[in-house]
Symmetry: C2
Subunit: 403 residues, 2 copies
């Protein structure tokens, strides 16, 4: 369902959405750096933002603009985060919306704004103005890939996906683009994710669905434990599919929710797998806890442990570091009741290292995609966190990414 | 006061203490790996241990043995942590105490036990028995350096210090050895620290002093955020100095407390500075908060951020990553009131990057020892955390340290 074709379609897969990405000269590399996403028909909108006390200017602006529950466009740039930029930063973020609105013939309050990149640098507004003008001129149903490329920073590729389902007898489509690679951690680091759908749904119900889903998708990934100033997820629903309005508590809502969840979890996994310098994608399933929160706390301790991360980079089945991380998660536990498996092979049980075939375990550790199961034996709750290893390349990327 | 001479004296500096370190063949490297510390005169004892739910066998044994408030000896090994070793591990830890007690002519309950090294491997008790016998035969007032060498693992050197003060008209001496390099984080990772003193003080008051001091010394360091299964700090006070018993609320106690604090903070800094792969020692002072806890939470977020750590490794004055970490510490803040300084030079103020002389800041960043000040402007409390950078070498050490 997430084929290369759907990746190309991305955010313009649902009816009525156009997108573009252009080179405005904001990224030092000269790559695409200004993205525009547009729906002529007004869309209901929902958003979730960073909980960082130091929120970037565009986040501050979006929190205001989103209040009316509707939007026509998203304008975004990479290369400069417009964070820690004071009054001028706020003015510039609003100016971005105003420039896009003028091109698109809508109100500035109907344009959402994002920036990602270096903190503490002001946006070059002359370049931005030219970029937005160019992007507006290039808007098309084939523009998703360029828009996706224009919002990435240290990502190795632009994340996108799309899906179609039937709701109320109509085909309802979803599309998305996302970026995020470093500073990845709940609650949603340097991550930007834009999701479009042609479903007919109110902004209130859309917000409820998104807020719930973020807790089991974007808030369940960790690359390095840092939470950025710019994290943003938007969903725009323009109703072009023509389905009867989706109401809470119905089968239609269930389908809508499950599809949005699939999109968000798929993008979450892609972001974790593309963590800066990552060579291993780690899926950490913690089960048998008394609550979701306990399971999440344990899974996050494992995901964030530099010792666990470097062990997986070294392809070393060092379960001692995993049980050690479990032990400091702040959740009471009984070591003798806990079982740890790597790739389905028990490595720790009954308070001791388990017996296993070395060759089998080596084969697991050599794979690029490894599942760590931790069974706590205390209850029926659980949680899954997606993460990656810690490599030389991570240190290189972040030691040499100079301000 | 922490001269090379005092380092040599180390734990045997106070009257009545002897030590030894021998090669028992437990470390793969063949280096010194069994340490013994002994006071013929019974010592009052205090201890603080890991809060990890997965505590190693020696920690479980020590928690029992320490209850009588007295001790004659510490026996320790490196190369094998005796953690996650079940019933056999407990039996082996008790056997270590018993073997040492037989050599020293004291009760097994008067011998404290530590192990550090790989998790999940059983102690080779034949080698241990021979090692303890050899160490007992070598006990001497010149044995501190060997004992210190015998407890290190990935440390680049053995940490030690000693101090003398006057209490109640008598010279009272303190000595210490410590190890710790990776898995360093509150509450006291793979850290072992043994402190000796010839002060006359009750075990109750000694425990009170130690418990208080740990909160502002060993619990204020972070190398990688991992908390080990084996962390232990012991203080043995044998009263050989002949001072009148130190009582709470007196000037004598104040001097004793301050000296013990100095020792613990000095060793904490040495451990942070010798963090695995560290090239920079970072002192993070957070001031102007409403409470010590708030300041500690902020300082720890900075200390643990891989993005901050790699920036300092790259000698990049990336204050954006620091303010970002401040923002997700869970402490309400006003970005415009916050000031960040590197080496005394303001880099962030009034919500913006500050103006500075590039050459001055470059000179700060190139130093091996950098002070980060964060002034929150909210109150009169503060906290200091000691940490280090994150380098290629950290990844190498922990990616290649195979089980």
């Amino acid at each position: 369902m997430f084929s290369e074709k759907s990746r190309k379609a991305g955010i313009t897969f649902p009816k009525g959405f156009k997108a573009a990405g252009v080179k405005a000269g904001i990224k030092k590399s000269g790559n695409l750096d200004v993205a525009l996403i547009y729906t002529e028909k007004e869309a209901a909108v929902a958003g979730v933002f960073t909980k960082n006390e130091v929120a970037a200017a565009p986040v501050l602006v979006d929190r205001e603009y989103i209040k009316n529950g509707k939007a026509h466009a998203i304008v975004a740039n990479a290369g400069c985060a417009n964070a820690c930029t004071g009054e001028l930063g706020l003015k510039n973020a609003k100016e971005m919306a105003k420039l896009a609105a003028a091109e698109l013939g809508c109100q500035p309050e109907d344009v959402l704004v994002s920036s990602t990149g270096i903190i503490g640098v002001n946006l070059p507004m002359d370049k931005m103005a030219a970029g937005i003008k160019a992007a507006a001129a290039e808007l098309s149903v084939d523009g998703s890939m360029n828009a996706g490329e224009a919002i990435i920073t240290t990502d190795t590729y632009s994340k996108a996906c799309s899906l179609a389902v039937t709701i109320g007898g109509k085909e309802v489509r979803f599309g998305a683009i996302a970026k995020g690679s470093g500073m990845i951690q709940p609650d949603m680091a340097t991550m930007l994710c834009y999701i479009s759908t042609d479903a007919n749904i109110s902004s209130q119900l859309l917000q409820k669905a998104l807020s719930d889903i973020v807790e089991i998708s974007f808030n369940m990934i960790s690359v390095d434990g840092d939470m950025s100033t710019n994290d943003t997820v938007f969903v725009l629903a323009n109703g072009e599919a023509g389905n009867p309005e989706i109401k809470e508590g119905t089968k239609d809502y269930e389908i809508f929710y499950d599809t949005l969840k699939t999109i968000c979890q798929e993008l979450s996994k892609k972001i974790a797998a593309d963590g800066e310098g990552a060579t291993k994608f780690l899926t950490i399933n913690v089960t048998g806890t008394k609550s979701f929160e306990d399971a999440k706390a344990i899974a996050m301790c494992i995901a964030k442990s530099p010792l666990v991360k470097t062990a997986f980079f070294g392809e070393d089945p060092n379960w001692g570091r995993v049980i050690c991380a479990v032990g400091y998660a702040g959740v009471p536990m009984v070591p003798e009741k806990t079982v740890i498996k790597f790739g389905g092979i028990p490595v720790y049980a009954n308070g001791l290292g388990a017996e296993f075939e070395e060759a089998d375990l080596r084969a697991v550790m050599e794979k690029p995609d490894i599942v760590i199961d931790v069974e706590m034996g205390q209850g029926d709750a659980g949680a899954t966190v997606w993460s990656c290893d810690l490599s030389y390349e991570y240190v290189k990327i972040n030691g040499e990414y100079h301000t």
